[in-house]
Amino acid sequence: MSSFIAALLNPDMVFIRYALFAGLISAVPFGITGSFIVVKRIGYVAGAISHAVLAGIGFAMYVNAKYDKEVLSPMLGAFIAAVTAGIIISFVSRYAKEREDTIIGTVWAFGMAIGLLFIHSTPTYIDPMSYLFGNIQLLGSLELKLIIILAVIVVFVVVLFYNQLLLVSYDPEFAALRGLNVYFYQVMLIMLISCTVVLMASSVGIVMVIALLTIPSGIASFFTIKLWHMIIVSSIVCAVSVVSGLAFSYMLAMPSGAVIIVVCGIIYFAAMMLNAIFGIIQKNRAVGKRDQIKP
């Protein structure tokens, strides 16, 4: 652990500090949108958006290589692709009357294919593994600034519309009866997911970002009865996973994205077992009380 702390304080290893800041800042929006994804059971939407992001990254890399200068930051490219994918999913599923899973599958695969074609056509060699599975060295000061802006937007919007998003999530019919524009809030939620996906796409990779969106909220769901409690617990779990994952990945010289997700997965299985044990204890107590009442 001391080597990780030393690396954090080392002025030459600024990328580790960036990765740590990015992880801590992203933990709150991940906790928020992740909780909505888990309770609404729309992990597949987040999966499609995160994979479609490769189209934007590939395009940015291609344009930058072609003009031999940074015309478009890969993260900004990822953001544009994520928002476009979100708009397509929301719009087509409502107006084209297509099956939702077909559209999601199409956006998922089409986005990745476009991204790979751009990467293939880029004159200089790019290792797609860095984008698929994460590389903390991809984070620069511009990326960090973009992460801060997106995180603030996500938190601000959710705080402002929390009650509306909550109602639309659990009872859209009643929300419509109260005069809420249900479609507007559903699109808003998908846009928030798009923003959040981009936040950690560089650190953990576009394939594994979906795990960071769902696992911490899944853990929180074992122990919470209110959505905002779930958001807080999920954000804490996310922050703990990112910090400890980064530390272990540095100490063991392993890929950061994979280690973060493994840490998260271990916490999930531990929480699941704890939850099962508490469940059995509570059940036994209830049976005991019932037996005492019996004449």
Binding site: N163, F174, L177, S221
Partner: protein
């Protein structure tokens, strides 16, 4: 609008695609009446109350609530659907659900007044002690009460209840009917049911619907219900009624 009519339905027709569900429905419901709607499955009972709630729009004709068409939003209409839309795993408490009854469009938080309305609504359905309970921890009857409280918190003057006793045991059904009877002292209730026996004591009027609508005089409905008691489904879906045989 005729004075004292809180709901007016004028020459209403509705169809899903080419399939006609309701044809030329006309009826008026007075303030603080308790009206039952009975009919066979697929006869259009749920469609009619959803049209009254403004969740569906008529193909032809209009539904008026206090003289205003349901194409406008009506916060005075509370609708309790047959099946709860709330996912059992959703982390939402009784308080969250009832407070959402006071929701306004736009953004913002609940204020003191909203909380007061929610508490008073919970009290009126006898659920004040369950405020902090998770929705999934409640029984079927308690869930129905919470959904009714949500409608009351929003200031409902009309309560549209779609099969409120479905999936409830006899005791819970009887308790719920007592509650509806109490609520009917101050608000209008429209009750969709296939089990007329449960509501026969409290209902003011009975409409039978099967594409067309026909009003049964109460006495006739009771006699027909008694006749049909021996039937397996215990329904008042009757054989020789113009309304019940309406679908053509």
């Amino acid at each position: 609008m005729t004075e004292n009519n809180i709901i007016e339905i004028k020459d209403l027709s509705f169809a899903y695609g080419n399939e006609s569900i309701l044809s030329h429905i006309n009826c008026e419901i007075k303030d603080k009446e308790l009206v039952s709607i009975v009919g066979p499955n697929g006869g259009g009972k749920t469609t009619l109350v959803r049209l009254m709630a403004g969740l569906l729009y008529p193909v032809k004709g209009k539904v008026y609530i206090e003289g205003v068409s349901t194409t406008e939003r009506h916060p005075i209409v509370g609708y309790v659907s047959q099946n709860s839309m709330i996912d059992d795993k959703f982390p939402v408490t009784v308080q969250d659900i009832v407070l959402s009854g006071t929701m306004k469009s736009g953004f913002g938080f609940y204020n003191k007044n909203d909380r007061k309305k929610a508490n008073s609504a919970l009290e009126s359905v006898g659920m004040s002690n369950f405020v902090k309970k998770r929705h999934s921890d409640l029984s079927g009857g308690q869930r129905k009460r919470v959904i009714i409280a949500r409608a009351l918190a929003g200031g409902a003057k009309i309560l549209l209840l779609d099969e409120p006793t479905a999936n409830l045991d006899a005791n819970s059904s009887a308790d719920l009917i007592e509650l509806i009877k109490d609520l009917n002292k101050t608000i209008t209730v429209v009750l969709v049911t296939h089990d007329y026996g449960f509501v026969s004591d409290i209902t003011n009027r009975v409409f039978c619907i099967n594409n067309h609508l026909h009003e049964h005089p109460l006495k006739e409905a009771e006699e027909r219900f008694a006749m049909n008691l021996k039937r397996v489904d215990h329904t008042v879906v009757l054989n020789k009624c113009k309304g019940c045989e309406g679908k053509q």
